[in-house]
Symmetry: C2
Subunit: 201 residues, 2 copies
DNA sequence: GTCGCCATTGTGGAATACCGCATACGTGGA
DNA sequence: TCCACGTATGCGGTATTCCACAATGGCGAC
């Protein structure tokens, strides 16, 4: 399930099948869901790809499903499909972060194009997230004390000042500093600073 | 003209007057324009505030005006106003970066609220831009050579390595380094790195 | 209990950064 | 022409970093 995959959520089986067939001919992996509830129950944060979400469904609407996903931290690009145009709805969805909002009828090409772009966006986001995860994994190996020392290093303070501030000896600060650079796989405080501003910026 | 100001662009004088009156009662400074062309000719990059832009106008349409503004680097939040709902148009405008897309009829409160939020967004952007401008102003005082040395410092290299790479002596690198810190108003390479990652991140 | 991890401190020395002062050359403007 | 500025270099001294090695006490896991 770590494969990028277009999730088609629609309560109309005929449409699910049609979309799935369309995307499969374009070599896009698909998975279909017959309701927002079903998708929400199954969804895992590690999933990649995008979501094609029908607005009007029995039970939970597409918009409700979207809201629930956002609340759970799902960042998959969402392409909304709707039968009848509604500008305020489209505006609200996009301002909340939806990827696109398209009205029926649309051409095969329209949807293929949208799905491809959504998948590309997600791939790009995943690359950025992988960077952050990697840095955070390094950070996680630091002990509490090492993190305190690191914070002070990142303020550009001398070991001497850090030692005073933490009421420990300079030697200890040096030992921490050395281990920090080692664990974070950097050679200088400058590299460390750049690494972490990527994380926070 | 450095005052935040809501620019109302509409070829219907009655609407211009109505919107202007509405916003003025809310203590929002306004300026009105009877065409996209007129606004485009007058617009200056230093202007702050937001734009309320009618879609359908004689001559240049609101969307054309928007495209032209984007091409010129205008980043003012744009609130589109349209008489007849058109989802694809709204989606396209928002994906290009428009702030909002609202259909007539709307209530006074709707527009007041949108304009206030757009102004707040612009104010926030201006704060961030002021930061960047400040840093760039410092950067601009650096000589060519100093910038080269700075780039190498930001790669975490020792003065010795920098000297080798630029085929100059370590002493000279030290001199540059000192002036760089002085001009950039920082005390350490770490601060410099953080300053510049803010600029680039 | 023993082992490993963490925080702590220490020694001593080599490498590097940081600072003020002085000098020199070329270029462009007053 | 003289002055300001950017670039480049050097000296001497102090502060700081970086490194390898060694050691102690606390704490949780096996």
């Amino acid at each position: 399930m770590n494969q990028a995959c277009a999730h088609i959520i629609d309560d109309d089986e005929a449409i699910r099948d049609a979309l799935q067939w369309l995307l499969k001919t374009r070599a896009v992996a698909c998975r279909t869901w017959d309701s927002g509830e079903a998708f929400l129950e199954a969804w895992q944060p590690s999933w990649r790809g995008c979501i094609v979400l029908d607005i009007r469904m029995h039970g939970m609407s597409g918009l409700e499903c979207f809201d629930a996903l956002l609340a759970r931290g799902c960042e998959l690009p969402v392409i909304f499909i709707t039968g009848h145009g509604d500008v305020p709805m489209a505006v609200a969805a996009l301002k909340k972060g939806a990827f696109h909002f398209i009205e029926k009828p649309f051409t095969d090409h329209d949807l293929e194009d949208l799905v491809e772009k959504a998948l590309a966006l997600d791939a790009e986001r995943q690359r950025a997230a992988a960077n952050r995860d990697n840095i955070e994994a390094h950070l996680a190996t630091l002990t509490q004390r090492e993190r305190e020392v690191m914070d002070l290093i990142l303020e550009g303070k001398y070991n001497k000042v850090i030692a005073d501030q933490l009421s420990i000896s300079m030697r200890t600060v040096e030992a921490h500093r050395s281990r920090i650079f080692d664990k974070m796989a950097v050679r200088s405080a400058v590299e460390l600073a750049q690494m972490l501003t990527v994380l926070r910026g």
